[in-house]
Amino acid sequence: MDKQSKTIEIMRRIGAPRLERIRITGILQSPDLASLTLLMPGGNNDPSAAVLKLLGTHSINIRFINKYNDSAGNTTLCLCVDAAFLNTAVDLLDTNEKSLNIRDFMYHQRVKVISIYPHKERPRIAERLVTTLRMNGIHILSINNASSVISCVLHSEDVEKAVACLGDAFELP
């Protein structure tokens, strides 16, 4: 057996090389939430603040926000609200769609936010998190970092699998 064949045979027996696990302190999991993604005009007509105010005045708790503008001049606003308030939020947005200038919106009924800490602004943590989840076929709805955590919005039915595969990619105390 030549040297290359030996290497391939060893790899076949032991499997592909595993990346060294990255040490983290913990993984947090939110309660059941619902996510809403709104497409709105950007620039001086950006109604994001008005949407947030509207939901707030109706006691709708917003646990996750991603807002960004695209090159076409649109604003995308992704929100996670308590699952029990989804219908109220949808009704409010439906009723005010025109006055708030909402072009379109969609929602997912059951999502959770998974957060890894500490993030400490390290690109390696973000890359490992995203790649691990996608390699395992888990659809990530949104990602952001805030202070010391990096968070992903996932469908609730994927969370158990996500936490298990993150346990292989990260070393927990």
Partner: protein, 163 residues
């Protein structure tokens, strides 16, 4: 019912002299963003702000903010990295700042985010991007609007002085 009392928050953390990089329409496949994160890691460049979201048609938009000196290290390779990620384009927003509002408990107090972003909007502060989770919110704003944003947030929340 919204927030009525003046909420106390931690002293603001403001990161200045940053650049926002917006990678548009990256295909949703495992490892698509690895070339960028590898580049950042290789040059030891911290990611001060990170956001990824949908851009329709199953693609993703990725936004990061990094220090200008870090950007200078990455710049020679950015075109190649953008191509390898198969991003449709890279848009740069020079001279931005990230303002962190910590402690307002966005997760348990309805109306807090409306209060914050309503006040910024009313004061004419341009907010390029927002990332909010649990107790903190990061806002990307033009660097030359930092002083105005600090004044607005100081009027909206009870902000203790830095020690």
């Amino acid at each position: 019912m919204g927030v009525t009392e003046t909420l106390e928050i931690f002293p603001l953390k403001v990161l200045r002299d940053l650049i926002q990089l917006h990678f548009l329409r990256i295909p949703t496949r495992p490892g698509a963003t690895r070339p960028l994160f590898d580049l950042l890691e290789r040059h030891n460049v911290s990611v001060k702000f990170l956001l990824e979201g949908c851009s329709g048609d199953f693609n993703r938009d990725l936004i990061i903010c990094i220090a200008k000196d870090g950007f200078a290290l990455l710049e020679p390779e950015l075109k190649e990295v953008t191509d390898r990620m198969q991003a449709q384009a890279l848009e740069l927003q020079p001279s931005v700042a990230v303002v962190r509002v910590l402690g307002a408990h966005f997760d348990i107090r309805p109306g807090t985010s409306g209060l914050l972003f309503g006040a910024l909007d009313q004061a004419g502060i341009k907010v390029f991007s927002i990332a909010t989770t649990i107790t903190s919110s990061l806002c990307v704003i033009p660097d030359d609007q930092v002083a105005a944003a600090e004044r607005v947030i100081g009027r909206t929340f009870a902000v203790p002085k830095k020690k």
